[in-house]
Each structure stands twice: as structure tokens, then as C-alpha cells.
């Protein structure tokens, strides 16, 4: 498969670009909800529009009423989300949770997916238990209780947890904290007794929670996939989410770079456009190269995921790491090259820097994924 978009994908990219550029624009969404101190951090009306556009069903199978597309298509929408810093539950709900639910029972899919397709429901995922992503170690416990399970533990960095109707929770049903086996994924409804959340606003104005599970009782039908076989579902979910986050990071990088290159063509100092200075030209050209390479890595990873290739996991780690590095460079160079105005809240470049920081941390930073690359390569 060639590493560029086919005609259908190019059409989707145009549609998503236009939609996000208008409806998802920074002033209309990110600044609007931030300045209102919105407890969700995003607009439900926009989420309904996502559903009307079909975006929320991209990774839902046609049998379940979705579009049955792949990670490449989800990435196309996410790159535009990144470019416009559009706050939405797309990554958590339509990529992460949708991928997990796709591996769940017909009952489970029938219960939750219609709300995703209509834009009425929002989902979150609760995996991390400390300040750094480490899904190898899961200490949250789920013990057999009657026909179901009783969950105890704590989760952190649950993005949009307080807005979610359902939260996918990774818990241990057997074995030790760091065992690969013995995990189970649960679809936990927001109103489950014993579930509590402390919401925190993050640096990029998005919302996340610290979640507590205190003797949360769940029916057996809340299990996504097999009991004790959750690692497979978790990996599938995380890989889709990481590829998606990488695509969004490429969007953040591209948006930040374009804004910066435009600024180099407008700002005059010493009687010249600052873009005439070779010191800045070379840095901008290097940045361009890094962003292009990151975009290639992301498309490759998504194609491999969609093909079900054995190499997908390695390339997803490469993509998340490389996109994080490229986007990090793009926002840092962006603020520096904008000079003083780049430090002001009024100017958007700083918003890119904040989003990059949160996105880079989500589902593992560049160090985490470089380490994965080493492990998967055998060293």
C-alpha cells in the first residue's frame, strides 16, 4: 500500500480540514471553553457535529452501525484536531474506547456504541496509576463477587473522566502487579456506586481526573473481552490510541510550524524580514524535515495497524516517539522565533506549546516509546 492517502482518504482530509478549520477553530472552541472555565473543557454541541459528520463512527464496525474504517482515517481527523487545537472527546471516545469496545460482547457494544455514534455519549479510559505511563504494572484489583466483580484501586490522568458516561478501566483479576496476564478490562458506568473522581484542569486547559474505585460492584457483563485476557484488548486499545495521539501531535507540529513560518515572513527587525536571516532559515528548514519524517512514521504505523501486521507495535512506538520529538521541537522553536509576542496569552503559539506538552505525556512520552523500540528490537 503506498504511503500516501488514497482518493477517499484525501476527500476525508479535505472535509476534516474544512470542518475543523471552521467549527473547531481555536477562538471558537479552545479559547471559548477555557475562558468560560467549562468543567468539560470541550463543547457537547461540537461533539454532536462530529457524530453528524460520521467521525465518531470511523472505528466502529459497519455491523455496529459505524463506518468500519481504520486508524489511517481516524488519524486524518486527529491531525486536523491537532492543527486547530480542537478540544473534543474524539481520541478517548472514538479511538481508545471504541477500539476496546470493538473487542467486547454484542451486549456491551449494543449498550454503549449507539451513544458514541449519535454524539450523546462520551467515554474515557483509566489505565495509568502514577504520573508516568506504565501499563506494564496494574495494581487496581477486581475480585470475584457473586456473578460479577468488586473493583478497588486508584487511577490518574483519566482524560475527560468527569464528562464520561462510561470509563474503560484496566484492573487485575489475577497474578502480581507486573504480570502480563491476569488483566481484565471493564466498562464502568459513570454512576457506579463507589466510583469517585477529582477533576483537575491541565496546562492545556483540558480536563482530567484522579479516579478512585472503592468497592465498585460490577456485573459480569461489564467485562470487555475475556476475564484475565485483558492484556490483548488493552494493547489493541493503547496502540490505536498511541497512533492517534501521534497523528494529533503531527497536526500540532504542522499548525505550529506554519504559524511560525508565516511570522518569519511578516516580522521585520534591523530593516529586514526576520525570515531572511540564515540563522532562522536553517532552523525552520530542519524543523520542516523533522515534521515530514514524523508524518511518514505515523502513516506507516497506522497502515500497519490496519493491516494487522506484526510490525505494527514497533512502528506505533516509533511514531509516538518521533511525533512527540517533532512536535516538541515545533512548539519550542515556535515560541522562540515569535520572540516576546510568543509569550503572550493573546497569541496562539503558546497554546500549541501547552497542548504538545499534555499530548506528549498521554499514553507514553518519547522516552517511554524509545525504550519500547529498544525492547521490541531485543536490547
Amino acid at each position: 500500500m503506498p504511503l500516501y492517502h488514497n482518493d477517499d482518504q484525501a476527500l476525508l482530509a479535505d472535509t476534516a480540514s474544512q470542518f475543523m478549520g471552521e467549527e473547531g477553530a481555536i477562538a471558537k472552541q479552545l479559547r471559548h471553553w477555557r475562558d468560560k472555565d467549562c468543567p468539560d473543557g470541550f463543547g457537547h454541541e461540537l461533539w454532536k457535529q462530529f457524530a453528524e459528520m460520521g467521525f465518531t463512527g470511523i472505528l466502529v464496525s459497519e455491523d455496529d452501525g459505524g463506518l468500519g474504517m481504520g486508524n489511517v482515517e481516524a488519524g486524518i481527523v486527529l491531525e486536523q484536531i491537532g492543527r486547530n487545537l480542537t478540544p473534543s472527546p474524539f481520541l478517548s471516545s472514538a479511538v481508545l474506547a471504541a477500539t476496546a469496545l470493538g473487542k467486547g460482547s454484542a451486549d456491551l457494544r449494543g449498550r454503549w456504541l449507539p451513544g458514541l455514534l449519535s454524539g450523546d455519549s462520551v467515554f474515557a479510559v483509566a489505565v495509568d496509576e502514577g504520573p508516568k505511563h506504565n501499563p506494564q504494572k496494574i495494581t487496581t484489583r477486581a475480585e470475584k463477587s457473586g456473578n460479577g466483580f468488586r473493583l478497588n484501586g486508584a487511577k490518574s490522568f483519566v482524560v475527560q473522566g468527569a464528562s464520561a458516561d462510561m470509563i474503560v478501566v484496566a484492573a487485575r483479576t489475577s497474578g502480581d502487579d507486573s504480570d502480563m496476564d491476569g488483566l481484565t478490562l471493564f466498562a464502568v458506568p459513570k454512576d457506579a456506586a463507589g466510583l469517585s473522581q477529582d477533576a483537575v484542569r491541565l496546562v492545556d486547559s483540558s480536563m482530567a481526573t484522579h479516579l478512585k474505585l472503592d468497592n465498585v460492584e460490577l456485573d459480569g457483563d461489564a467485562v470487555i473481552g475475556e476475564v484475565d485476557g485483558g492484556r490483548e484488548v488493552l494493547n489493541a486499545m493503547l496502540n490505536a490510541g498511541r497512533a492517534g495521539a501521534a497523528a494529533e501531535a503531527v497536526g500540532v507540529a504542522g499548525g505550529s510550524m506554519d504559524m511560525t513560518v508565516d511570522y518569519l515572513k511578516q516580522r521585520k527587525q534591523f530593516g529586514r524580514l526576520i525570515g531572511e536571516f540564515q540563522a532562522l532559515q536553517h532552523r525552520a528548514a530542519h524543523l520542516y524535515s523533522e515534521v515530514e519524517i514524523a508524518r511518514a512514521a505515523v502513516i506507516k504505523a497506522q497502515q500497519l495497524l490496519d493491516e494487522g501486521s506484526e510490525k505494527a507495535e514497533l512502528m506505533v512506538a516509533v511514531a509516538k516517539a518521533k511525533a512527540g520529538i517533532a512536535a516538541g521541537l515545533a512548539v519550542k522553536e515556535g515560541v522562540q522565533m515569535h520572540g516576546g509576542i510568543g509569550m503572550t496569552d493573546e497569541y496562539d503559539i503558546g497554546l500549541y506549546m501547552k497542548r504538545d506538552r499534555a499530548l506528549s505525556e498521554f499514553l507514553g512520552d518519547a522516552n517511554y516509546h524509545a525504550n519500547r523500540v529498544a525492547e521490541l528490537s531485543g536490547y
Binding site: P2, L3, Y4, V261, L264, K265, R272, L273, G275, E276, Q278, Q281, H282, A284, A285, H286, Y288, S289, E292, I293, A294, A296, A297, I299, K300, L314, M315, A317, V318, A319, A321, K322, I325, A366, N367, H369, A370, N371, V373, A374, S377, G378, Y379
Partner: protein, 393 residues
Amino acid sequence: MANLEEFRAETRAWLEANCPPEMREPVRDDKDVYWGGRNGSFSSEAQGAWFDACVEKGYTVPAWPKEYGGAGLSPAEAKVLREEMARINARSPLHSFGIWMLGPALLQFGTEGQKKHFLNQIARGEIRWCQGYSEPGSGSDLVSLQTYGEDKGDHWVVNGQKIWTSYADKADWIFCLVRTDKEDKYRGITFMLYDMTTPGVSTKPIKLISGNSPFCETFFDDVKVPKSYGEDIPGFVGEINRGWDVAKYLLGHEREMISGAGNADRLTTIGAAMKRHTGELDPILRAQLAMFDVDALAFSAMGEKFLDEIKVGKAHPAQPNMMKYSGTELNKRRHELMMTAGGSRSLEWDSEVTRGGKPSREWLRTKANSIEGGTSEVMLNVIAKRILDLPGA
């Protein structure tokens, strides 16, 4: 697609039958590479058999039309062949500046007579070419070149000096940029073709920091260059005084080649190999290797994307500059890390265990990657100007 799978099966069978096992071993030194030419000789029977089989099949230049010695493969078929050769680690049957550089220029700018004559010679490895571009005073600023061809009617008399001429001492013919109009900087250069045995041509190898001498100084002292070698076979490519157009086109090809984009699927990770060679890895070196492997794998995806896009005209025309910049900087970093991982062993200059100081000589050789064919700094200038459209670059 069904046809492509059929082609893959055929190709696999053909390679199985024709590529000797010895030709599936990694290239270890210079004698494992065949350059062809009047003085070319095979270092083994297997090398000769593999070369002959490829020539017969058109696989020294698979994507060239059959009438010029190629196999006439479509871009998709050529990709399949590349993948299948990579799968069994098949060596390239013929290394040649004729294939990589002059050939593409002739395909684009040559007359029918030139294509029939020169391209077939190249495909069969009969003539080994070298490239006369840089001069002592014209490196990055190539267009300022001074080697001058005085018009004498049916021929030119060329005087001047070239430098960094790769393997000029082993080459049969040269494609050479010669000034033919001193008044017009850009439209005063002609892309000439001539025999290195012509009286007045001499070469002198330059010893490099690697101890090897892949480059020469090449001198022209009243060299008589014919304007024609027969009917429809001009002694120059394109038009007289418009050689810069050809040179610019070719520089794109050269940058692609040096970037390693063409065999990006072979640009593999190094971390695992370094661990095998050295045992336990220092944790900080391991981290550096991991970060390198991230970049190497990402760049290999970029190489694949770039080639896919070139085939359908989606790549930005200046994108080869980005590939060259990123690919060469990456390769330099690769060899720095390999030297570090190898420790004192990799310092050995002529020991048997290092096969004559291969690690250190290769490490030093890579330093030229970001200089030859346009420095990294020039690449960044071109990206800034032609892709980012920055002012006054």
C-alpha cells in the same frame, strides 16, 4: 493487483534460480562490489554469473525501457523487485554512476541516438562513467565553475581542473560541466561527454582521512572534445550552454542517492546489533541507540513515502534536498554511535579482526556524506527557499 502478485511469484522464482548464495551475503569490502567498465573484472565466479543473469534479464536497470537495456518494469513492479531482492539480501549486480546519474539525465534530456548508444553500454556495464562537477574554486557555489571549452567548430578544446571526481582514475568516460560562455553564469555551461583516454586528460587520487582514495583531482590540458559521436549522438546532453538545467536535474538524483532513500528498507536499526557485538550496553549508550533507532525507523518510513510519492508526482520537487539532509545527518550519527559502542576495538586501523579498520574508515567516510552533492547547509538553504518560501534565501 493480481498481476503484481504473479510478478512477485515469478520474480521470487527467478531470483531463487539466478542469485547465487554468495551474492546474498552482506558486502564486506570493495571487491564485493562490481563497477564494470573496460577494466572491470569479477572477484568471483558467482559475481560474474549474477551480473550476467541480471544483464540478460534487464535487471541492472529494471525500470529502464527494454530498448535501452532495461526490463521495462512499472514503478510498482520495480518496487516488488526491490522488496524481493531485499528479502534475500541480494547484492546489487552493478554499481555505476552511469545508472544512478548519467542514465536519468539521458532519459530526460538525451536524443534517441544517445539513449540507444550510451544507455545500452551502461546497462551492460561496458563503460564506467565518472562525474566532473566540482572545481577547486567551485564547491557549494558550483555554478561559478571555470573549466573552459573553447569553440573550434566541430569540437571544443577544454582546459581546467575538476576535483572530488569519484573514481576518475578508474573511469572510462566522464560527464563534465564545462563553461562555454563566460558572459552568462547560468546559461553558459555545457554538459559534455568524453573519453578519459583522450590526450590531455590526467587524474591524481586524493588521499582522504579514511586512508582511502575514492576521489581524484582531474586535469584537462587542451582536451579535444567532439561535438558529435555519430548520427544523432551529440557529444553533449541537452543544449549547448544549457547544461546547468541538466546538472540541476541530476543533483536531485544524486541527493536522493546519497540520502539512502532508494534502499531505505535496508537502513535498519543498530541497537540490537551493537548489543550482540559488545555484550551489555551502557545504559546511556542504550538510550542513545534507542533514540537513534526511532529516528532510523521513522526515516525509513519517510524513504518509502518519498519514493511512493515521486512515482505519482506527489512529492515536492525540492523534497530530495530534505531527504539528503536528513539521511546523511542520520548516517553520520549511526557511525558515531557504532564507534562508541565498539570502543577501542573500533579504533584498530589495519587489524584482521576489523577487516582492515573497516569501522573507523567507514566512520570517517560518512563525514563526506553531508558535504558531497551539496552540503547540509546548502540543503537547508534550498528547503528554506523552495519549500518554505522564506524571503531572500
